[in-house]
Amino acid sequence: MKDHLTIVHNETIAKDIYEIVLEGELVSNMTEPGQFVHIKVADGIDPLLRRPISICNVDHQKNQLTIVFRADGRGTRLLSQRREGELIDTLGPLGSGFPIAATESGQVAILVGGGIGVPPLYYLSKQLTARGVKVIHVLGFASSADVFYEEEFARLGETYIATVDGSQGTKGFVTDVVAERELDFDTLYACGPNPMLKALEANYKDVHGYLSLEERMGCGIGACFACVCHLQDDPTGTSYKKICSDGPVFPIGEVIL
């Protein structure tokens, strides 16, 4: 579950967004879209903790995995500076991902992503399309400078972009696109900031769907109880789930966002 993977590619693909391809035996265990890897961004004790980063794509033939992340804080900036040939201490795959079997062949799945929530949807979309599911992608970004993977998604199915400033696609949020286009679907899969997930949940309460959550994590394996969330249907207020090990993907309506 832990190995040193070799960086075979590192490239900036949008403003502060990096795509890193890692290679190693560990990749053979990575099969479920929506799972994440827990990465030690640099050797030594500072930064100390690992960074949870979602798996964007897996190539089992080459034993390669792709991560796409935003260099936002010190840890992710250090990770973005790592070079080809270097080894990255990687733990994973961790967590429970998106259930692809929830959508039958011939059905329609809508994949809604916001910002850095977009990457795990790519591997999901590939797996769904391989099953014969029709996919529609709605991807939201701050502006056109932040957009990435538009072509990659477009190759798999209908793809709509929303930008907050209107510099590309629909001006506004992903929810505006879904409403404006009157998109019809059987299953909803989403990953992105909490306000986006909340809006989707409010609009599609009774829809069959799954949301991927994000939270600051300690261990990433369920031992430290840092990333717990509460359940919606819990009259006593005492039940909880761990985002790292029970999630990060939960059915719509299961946990309190």
Binding site: G75, I221, A223, C224, F225, C229, T238
Partner: protein, 304 residues
């Protein structure tokens, strides 16, 4: 006898390495990575009388060479721990140290009495130093008389030896240690986390929902070493050392300061395999230092 085996009150340990309470859950997650029987002992997550659901998130924040946490002693309550967690741990050949926490003195006493009777619980660790709970916790750990009274009461009901986990957030750690020793403590665990805070530059607010939290990791190691060095010269009960241990070298340093066993906390989050790795590397360090048995190193920095 193995060069790493140590005997502490209630604890016959294959080696002096245990995961620290609060950093290892009840072992299930780490059992996926390695055989828990390789450990010297396991200090399980704190037990309280009633279930606790902890603090709001975010509960962790990274610091330079450390981390802050404000989990808030989340646990299913002592009954469930006895019924559901401890029997599972019995399948492993490893002594368990049950960490006992509470809001009132009566809570501690009731939890201690109950959990000390469990088959595989070989010692208690009295948590008088958790900085993340509003009632209890740190109040018991900062006033020597209160800590001594609690120790005495718990000793009276416990079927197994009692270790008291000391807080570093005090002016005089030696006074605390002496007070609980005089009250009958069989050993000390030190140190718990240091109270700290981080502020997010963008939101201008504390990162932790609880505002402040307990600082752990390599950043606090020098504080722990200093306190163990001070206390071990003044008490005659053994010390389980903890605070930023990451490697076999760190373990040796804690022994030289005065520890007789150690607990590894935050490092488990960074590397789930850290405990077995340290256990494997320790004999090389004993060779390097030319000692036959690890216990010979205890207090080596001040013993003549």
């Amino acid at each position: 006898m193995s060069r790493l085996a140590v005997q502490l009150p209630g604890l016959s340990m294959k080696n002096p390495i245990m995961p620290a309470s609060g950093c290892f859950g009840f072992g299930k997650e780490y059992a996926k990575f390695y055989d828990l029987s390789t450990l010297g002992a396991i200090a399980i997550k704190a037990a309280t009388l009633e279930p606790r659901y902890g603090n709001p998130t975010p509960r962790v924040a990274e610091t330079s060479a450390g981390m802050l946490n404000a989990i808030g002693l989340q646990n299913p309550g002592v009954e469930k721990i006895i019924d559901e967690e401890l029997p599972w741990l019995e399948t492993y050949d490893v002594p368990i140290i049950a960490n006992v926490a509470g809001s009132e003195m009566e809570d501690y006493i009731e939890v201690a009495e109950k959990i000390s009777k469990a088959n595989n619980v070989h010692a208690l660790e009295l948590n008088i130093s958790c900085p993340n709970v509003k009632k209890g916790g740190i109040a018991f750990g900062t006033i020597p008389d209160v800590a001594a009274e609690l120790t005495k009461e718990v000793k009276a009901v416990s079927s197994v030896p009692v270790y008291v986990k000391l807080s570093p957030n005090v002016a005089d750690i030696v006074a605390m240690a002496k007070a609980v020793e005089a009250a009958g403590a069989d050993g000390l665990s030190m140190v718990n986390t240091l109270l700290g805070m981080r502020i997010d530059l963008k939101t201008k607010k504390p990162i932790l929902a609880n505002q402040a939290g307990g600082l752990s990791g390599p950043a606090i190691k020098p504080v722990a070493i200093r306190m163990i060095h001070q206390v071990s010269q003044e008490v005659s009960i053994p010390i389980i050392g903890m605070g930023g241990i990451q490697s076999a070298e760190d373990v040796i340093e804690f022994f030289l300061a005065g520890a007789s066993a150690v607990a590894v906390g935050t490092a488990n989050f960074v590397d789930p395999y850290v405990c077995p790795t340290i256990i494997e590397e320790l004999p090389q360090w004993l060779d390097e230092l030319n000692v036959d048995h690890i216990s010979e190193l205890t207090g080596g920095s001040w013993r003549s």
